[in-house]
Every structure is written in C-alpha cells, then in structure tokens.
Symmetry: C3
Subunit: 420 residues, 3 copies
C-alpha cells in the first residue's frame, strides 16, 4: 500500500465511533477485513481475564445539548469526541450550573475538543471546546445521551501471516479510540500495509487489532499458554504525524527487537526511549509475569504533541509521507528479524583468499574499498559462533542488508556455515 | 536541631585546642555529650592498633614568641593554630635566623595562619601569617612552648541509636582538628543533629567521634570482629561551607550507600567523585582488608577551598543554611537506607486493575498522569524479586519516597509482598 | 637512534623497488640487517600457507613509455611507482587509445602518481600523474615493461631480542611498498630504533619485517604452533607523518596491549579507533582462528591522508620529530608491558604506617600531597590480588612509571609481595 492508500484508509475509518467495546470496533474491523483475512473474536461481558473482567458493551445512537432556542450547541453527530466514552444514558433539562460538572474543555487550547472516557466508573459527560462553553448562556438546556450500556461482547481481531517457523513476530494496534487519526488509525493503516507486504516470511507474523488495555489483557488471558512463541513484538501507534520516529525499548532493554529497531533507525533522525510502564499495550505485554520482548514504535510518542487526545488529531494531522516512512522502517525491521542468523567462519585462520573466489577486487592500492568487501571482511572476522549478523551490524556500523548479502555470498563460496 | 543551633555548636567548639590526643578532645566530647549519650573510650599510649601504636598524649598550656619589647608577636592564647600540633616543649631565646626554620607561613595567602602538625616526628614549630613574619625584626626572641608529651590516652566516643535490626549505618567524624570550623566542627554538628533526629530507625546507627587516621585505626582494631555489621558508612566532614554537596564513592563504587546518596543528591547541584585512597577516614574503612562500604559526604571536598587548613576556616566560613542543607540530605539518605526493600508483584500477569481498588483515577484520556500512579506502575512492573525500591528509583527517576509510598499502598491492597 | 637517524634510514630505503616478493625486499632487509641481527626466511613459490599459496617472484629491470620523439614520458627509473606492482612483461607499440586502459591516474590530485598493484590477477599497467596524461598526444608509443614473474621465493625477516621470559611482544611492519615513505619506511625505521633501544627486557621481543597480507599469512602458517607465545602485538605503520598518533584496538578490544597503549597515549593528543577487519596485518593476526592481541599503531591511520598511496608520500612528508615521538610512545608502552605486575598488600587492614618506614612526609596538614605518596596509597589500596599496576594506573589516572616506582619501594619495605 502506498502512503496515499494508507491515508485514505485513515480517512475512511475516522468517522466511526470506536470505544473499548461496541459496534464502532466491529465496523472498523469490517473495513480492515477488506484488506486482510481476520479472525474476529467476541468475548462475552463478565468473562474474567487475568485480574480484570470484560465490561458491558457500550453503544451510542445520538447525543446533544440543545440550547433554549432548540439549537444543538454540542452534537454527537458532528464529532463522536463530544461524548465521554462509556457515558450512561441521560435525558434531562438543566441549567448550565447543573450541567457544568459534566462538561470537559481544554482552557489552554480553547478551540479544541478533548477526548475523555470513564470505562470503569459510571458517569456521563460531554467534551466541547472552551470557546463553545464560553458562548453558552445560563440555559436551561436539553441534555440527551442516547446510549446503551448492556451485556454484550468485547471484540478484537487477529491476522496471521504464516512463516516457515512457528516463532512469531507480533504487531499490536489499539482500535478503541474514536475520531482520532494519528492515535491510532495511523497505526492500524500501517499495520495493514505491513501485513499485505509480507511474502513468505521466516517468522509467523501475528497482527492484533484490539482495544487498549482490556483488549491486550483479554488476548493475553486467552493465549497464556502460547505467548512464549512471540519472539519479537511491537505496539504500533501514532504512526503518521510529522514528528521523527521514536522507539521505546522493551522492558528487557536489549532484546533482539530493541537492537533490530535501533539499528534500522540508525542514521535517520530518531529518538530512543528507555522502557517505562506507561504508554500503550507494551504495559501489558511487558508486565513482569509475561515480560515479552515488546517495544513500541511511534512517531511523536504517547502524549507528546499538542493535538494528542483532542479534535486536533484529525486526518490532516497525518500525512501520506509519514505513513510511508513508518512502513518503510517496519519493513526493514522485518528484514532484520527474518535475516538474523549466526554463521561460523570455516576458514578462520587468516583471511581466506577472496580474490581467488571472485569475491574481491583484483586491483590493489586503492583506498575506496567498497561496502560489499567490508561486509565480507566483517562477517568473516566475527563469525566465530558468538556473533550474529545483527551483532556484526552493530559493531561494524554497516547496514544489515549489506551483511546479509555478504553472508549469502560467503555461504555460497563455502567459507561460512550457519550455526544451529 | 536547626541550622542556627548547629552553627551555635560550631561556635562553642571552635576555641578548644584539639589534637589526636589530649584534653581538647575530651572537652569537645563533653560538649557533644550534652546532646547525645556517649560511650567514651580511653586507649592507653603504647597500645598496638593494626600496624600502628597509640602515641603519647599531647597537651599545651601556653606558647608564644615574645619580641625584644616583651610583646607576644605570636600568641597561642589568640589562636591554637599558632602551635604546630604535637610540638615538644621549648623555652629559649634566639635570633630570627635561628627561629626561622621553625616558622610556617602561607606566602600566597599572607594574612592567614596555616595549620600544621608533626605527630610522628619529634619537632616543634609555630604557624603565623606571612604579614606577621614580614614585620618581625632580627630579635632576639623569647620562644616558649609549654607543652607536655607523655604517656596518657587516645580518646574517642561512640553514640549508638538502636534499630530494629543489628545491621548498622555508621557515621564517622574526625575530632582532631583545632580551631578549624568547616573541617570538622561542621561535620560534628551535623552528625549530632542527625543522631538527635533519628526515631526508632530500622538500622542501628553508630556515630563515631574520633581523631583522624589513628582514631579510625584504633576503632577498627578494637572492633575487628564486628565490622561486618556495618552495612552502610559515611565519613562526614566539611559540612557547612558555601559550596555544593560532594559525594565521594566508596571503594566498592556501587554499594547501596553509593546508590542511595547519589539518588538523593539527584536533582540538586552536586558533584560525585570516584573513590580515591586519600581524604578522610574512608582511607581506613576502605582499606582492602576491610573494604567497608564507606563513602564520604562533604560540601566542598578535602583541600578544595582556599580557606582549607588555615585560620580562614573559621565560624564565619560556615553558614546555618549550609549545615541545614547537609542535614536534610543525610535525613533523606537515612530514609532511603531504612525504606530500602524488595517486593514481589503478586499479580504479575498484565497490570492489576488498580481502579477497582481505588488506586487509579477513573477519568481516562488525560495525559497528566500523576507521580503517585507512575510510582505504582513502576513498583508493579519491576517487583519481580530482582529489583529493590532503590533500583526502581534509579531506573524510573522517581523520588524514593514516592516509590516507598506506592509500595506501601500496594502492600495494603495485597498486590505485592515483601521478599525475605 | 635519534629522529634524524631514523629519517636518514627512511631516505636510504626510499628508492628501492619493493613488492610482496623480489630483490627490492632483499635489499631492504640487507640495510635493516646493518642495524639488527636478522633471521631471513626464503619461502618457495607454490608453498601452501593457510588458505593461500606463495606467488611467483616479481622483479623489474626497466619500464617506460616512449613518445614518438623517443622521450620517456613515463620512466620507471625516475619512480618505481610508475609500474603497477606485479605487471607482466610487455613490449609493444600502440596508440594512446590502446594504451589508455592500462594507465592509472588521480584526476583529483593531478600532480601525483598513484600506487597500484595487481598481485593475483595477471595484467600490466602504468601509474602516472593526470598532468602527464593530459600532455600526451595520440602516439604511437613504445611501451616496455622489462619484468620477470617466475618461480622464486617470498622473503621476510625476523629479529628477536631475548627476554627473561618466553612470553613475546611482537612488532610487525610491512615491507612490500615501493617508494612510499610514511607507509611504511617510517614504520620500519621506528621498529629498528625500538629494537636497538631494548636492553634485557622481561618479554622476548620479536620484530617481523614481511610483505603485507601474504607475508603475515606465511609467518602465521609457519608459526602456527607457537603463536600462543605472543602475549602482546602491534602492527606499526605510517609512523612519521605530521598527524597525531592513532591507536586501533585489537579484536579483543580490552587486551593488555590495548590498555597499555591507550594509557600511555593518555594526555597526548591522540585518537583511539575500535577494531575493524581492515587496514594492516592486524587483519591476519586478529582473524578469528588466531585472535591474537594485536593492535595497530600509526600516526594518521591507513588511507587517512591525501598523500596516502601516492607519490606525495615521500621522505619530505616524514619528519624526524614525528619519528622520535612515535618511538618515545613505543618505549613507554614497552615500559608498561615489562613493568606490569600484580601485587598483594601484606598489611591490608587500615593503612600501614608509612611514615615509620620513611615512605611518607612527616609534616601534616599540607594539602599538596605528592604524586609519589598518592602512588603508594593507590598501590596499597588496590593490591588485593585482583588489580594489576595497569589497572591501578587506569583507575588512579597516575602515570604507570610512578606506580611502578611506588610498588618497588613498597616491595622493598616488605609491605607488598608479587603474586604468582
């Protein structure tokens, strides 16, 4: 998928009213399902998952605040951000003073509407811009949230690209945010594009599209016996904003995924953050009982931009080129994970004579040695059984792909063999 | 004790003529004993202590240099710095030329009187300002040091604050310097204040007030079998000057005391120095045979300020606010040492649902997560039995006290337990 | 040898036409043999050495390109760089167009003649300045290379300075470059001077003068059973240019040779490079099968200066003072390698009383402690059997020589003993 195609997917998913449960998630997965074969899971309300319980399902038909003239001052139909997520139903007439405790604004960003939720404490509320609030008279107002909060299901989906190995690479995207584009329709779009680009990989790739926190916890609870197959994981979010790429390390800190991503980011402008137990679902995957090697890839990270969790995070905030750039890095990371091997130099005493095997330029004395030759020398020198290609890439500061090519040529020449 | 109270103690101790033995040390300990219960030890001259021998006891009644007019050009009664420590008695009339080899000045700080000693080589001498020397004529001078150097005792004292554990924290202050305020009446005053502030600590706290080198060596010789109880130690000196706090690491380099002090110093302006076998009595405590985890806390370190070992190190050089600041850091260090624990997360698979237990805010979407919540997430994430609270403090960059509070709340909620 | 003497040796060796075999190498070793007892080895063409085979021997009598007027436009007698190393014989008349593929120039350095070789692919060629090429008409040209490429020998030499120990320090210089001064006549000259300066060293010193790559491989093949005796090694090259000294670490990275050289370079302006499997014969010595502790000492490193592998690398590019500076550093490195010991403090509980033994100043209170006293305190403090003098030098930041003197004094006083 191209950058514009990913951006079109973001725009198409944008209007849907997602939450941690409900029809918005189902509609989102239907559209993702047009691109990928999805296995959709419906987990009933009340199911115990680790320390948590699957909550009731929430849906909204309509919601508004009407002023005395009958005008919808706040209107769910214009933006689903206007309703606090998981608001219980309400239908009442009240003064602004009575309504005020239920109104959320951003006084320092007066034109923007915030995003708020209250999944596990029963309440209701509206989000609106400070400008709108400032223009509201004393009322009375007609206040309606036509929502349902009832036994139902939590919905999540998996897409699996089988590899030659059962070892898994897992990419996890949260799908619970309503009309917020970078967080996380951008992550979903890039994940879809990555999945479509994989062609007979070595690892099995598992893509998880699930609501944040409770979705990851539900998946972990239902896959407790098999999480050991996940050898490398990433949460993918905020994948389309104009900022530089940011990688947050796994709890392990120096897992292969950590070393692969930081190597690929290498020369690009980028940030690397240490692990912290906050942010996206790496919180769950990296909880100490599981301690999976899950890092987090974003552009500007969690809560790091002014538009974060506001109506400013709309499709205009996401660009096709940023989406394409994130995808390119992920593809290179996949290349590293799939190409990672350890070789043994079969001619380790002195350098083997590469020229005789057609692997080395014949004219001596020149000082502009080519990357391909340096890659061969590095692979030969460090292939003592203790250094993998990624180790060699880090030590030599050569691109992984160049080392992989060199190793392939040396393997063909019988100068190295792959270790078990 | 407040800063002014500590400063008053410095001023009261200032005039006494201390040395490594003698009545000045006893008078000093008497005054300290008005604040703390002291166990005073008198060790006879000739006692063998490790590689050393307790020397004869030294006392001075009077000392002066009188010019031909009978005026005391140099007068012990004005400052005890004027006599070289451990000077043998002398009573003679001599020309300036004869006297000169016995006179010590600081030509580059012509107004200041230096501090000099000669404990282990028999000699006598006077210290005076270069200005005074420059004003002296040819003489003859009446030169008197009315001192005694005779069998007696070396005196030191201990104050112990019993804890619930026999594991000890030891604070050592040298008490052998005469009228020098920062080095080390400031250290003595802060140690007294720290001792008075301790209230039923977990560790047993041992405060040692002893002459430098020979005192520490004597204490080590007499406590050789029990030094293993000292789990954390500090030499405390130069605690009241205007400079920033300086921590010199123990020989071990990364002992708990090293990590506790550097964590507490954290955001303040401060210096951290590597261990070196010079300075205060950490030289002895960190000798390779003992290798105790002793760091050294000072403000401006050993020999690091122009007033060091001169008459410029007087009570005006020491401020109540600097004394109070040093004390506050020590109290926080004590808080870390006493609160240091390792916990085990009893719900390590995914995050436990903190909201259900009233430990987490209910309104989602906000990005200004509070320190208390971050502290709980960090304690849960790293309480795998391998990370103590201090480890977590260092990794999370959160204050130890916040993590300790979080751990206490999680313990009450049954989510963690203390490891053995 | 002084700097000027070393420079004179460079000038004397400069005109000889060296290659990886042939009479130029023999003539070079004859001159080196005027300074050192050399063991010269002649290894027949066809001998199998590791993965390689000793090539035919190459010699040149004359070579030129004559223009239609009979003038030698390119003349081997003026510079041996004009002939591509290992050129096969040729004698023909041809147009410039036919000749052009055999001509090598440096378009971006139009006044300089490049250095090129083709040891293992049969061809012939000339190197000339771009300026010369630009002045050449269409021809026809008389083209002659009067060379022989025939069965013969590869020649290398060793000089051994016996030590009290069979453990060896090995210094390797490549001797295969024709008229290039810094690379590597400078290295040869400094190696000769170092060898002449050694006086009954503890280690046995082995100097290897051999052609690059094939020479090192031949030596390794013939000494495979005894390479374990080499405890410390250096390739020495580019030892006389105006740049700062550069040390490239061994493959091991923190071998004693790495720590010794970086300690000695300490306060001088210098560069330290990580190991890479390129450069000089450390490539062979550090191949994974041998993995010898070989670093590389140069001034400006391999391929790091514009004159590298051109006619600009002539004796004027090398200075007596730079040669002397490189030698001085090597002599200090030899001092560290020979003085490196581990001691055990026999009085490890507290500091021993140094004053009683005449090892410590008697007047206390002064803050200008001398380096000699600090060195004794450091040696005592860290001589716990786990720290060598070099360890102590690195941790204390004191010169190795000062610590060695301190250790000698402490040994004489019976305060330390040498560990086995």
């Amino acid at each position: 998928m191209t950058g514009p195609e990913m951006h079109a997917l973001v725009e198409r998913l944008y209007p849907l009213c997602r939450s941690i449960t409900g029809d918005g998630v189902r509609a989102t997965l239907d559209i993702v399902g047009e691109h990928l074969d999805l296995q959709v899971h419906e987990v009933p309300t009340g199911t115990e998952v680790l320390d948590w319980t699957v909550p009731r399902e929430w849906n909204v038909r309509d919601a508004y605040i009407k002023d005395p003239s009958g005008r919808r001052v706040v209107d769910f139909r214009r933006s689903n951000l206007h309703v606090v997520g998981y608001s219980v139903p309400v239908s009442a007439t009240m003064s602004l003073a009575e309504l005020r405790p239920h109104l959320h604004t951003l006084p320092e960003q007066p034109e923007l509407v915030p995003y708020r939720t209250s999944y596990y404490a029963e309440t209701w509320g509206f989000c609106l811009s400070q400008d709108t609030l400032d223009g509201m008279g004393d009322g009375p107002y007609e206040v309606v949230i036509d929502s349902t909060l009832a036994d139902g299901h939590l919905t999540y989906a998996e897409h699996v690209v089988p590899g030659t190995s059962e070892d898994e690479v897992m990419i996890s995207c949260h799908v619970c945010h309503p009309s917020l584009a970078n967080d996380n329709l951008a992550g979903i779009a890039v994940a879809v594009a990555l999945a479509k680009s994989l062609d007979q990989p070595r690892h099995t790739y598992r893509f998880l599209f699930a609501p944040g926190t409770i979705g990851a916890i539900t998946w972990l609870a239902r896959n407790r016996e098999r999480v050991g197959r996940v050898k490398h994981g990433l949460t993918l979010a905020c994948a389309g904003d104009p900022g530089r790429l940011t990688y947050k390390r796994s709890r392990r800190g120096e897992a292969v995924i950590d070393r692969a991503v930081t190597h690929v980011l290498g020369d690009r402008p980028h940030h690397v953050l240490p692990f912290s137990p906050y942010g996206y679902d790496e919180r769950q995957f990296c909880s100490p009982g599981f301690n999976l090697p899950f890092g987090s890839l974003t552009r500007t990270p969690y809560a790091g931009y002014p538009e974060y969790h506001t109506s400013g995070d709309n499709p205009e905030f996401v660009s096709p080129s940023a989406l394409a750039d994130t995808l390119e890095v992920l593809r290179q990371v996949a290349g590293v994970l799939d190409g990672e091997r350890t070789y043994l130099n079969l001619s380790p005493y002195g350098e083997p004579q590469l020229g005789r095997r057609g692997l080395y330029g014949s004219l001596g004395g020149r000082s502009d040695t080519k990357q391909a030759q340096m890659a061969m020398l590095w692979v030969l020198n460090l292939s003592d059984g203790e250094h993998s290609l990624l180790d060699i890439a880090q030590r030599s500061d050569l691109p992984f792909a160049a080392l992989r090519e060199a190793a392939t040529a040396l393997l063909a020449a019988g100068l190295v063999k792959e270790t078990a």
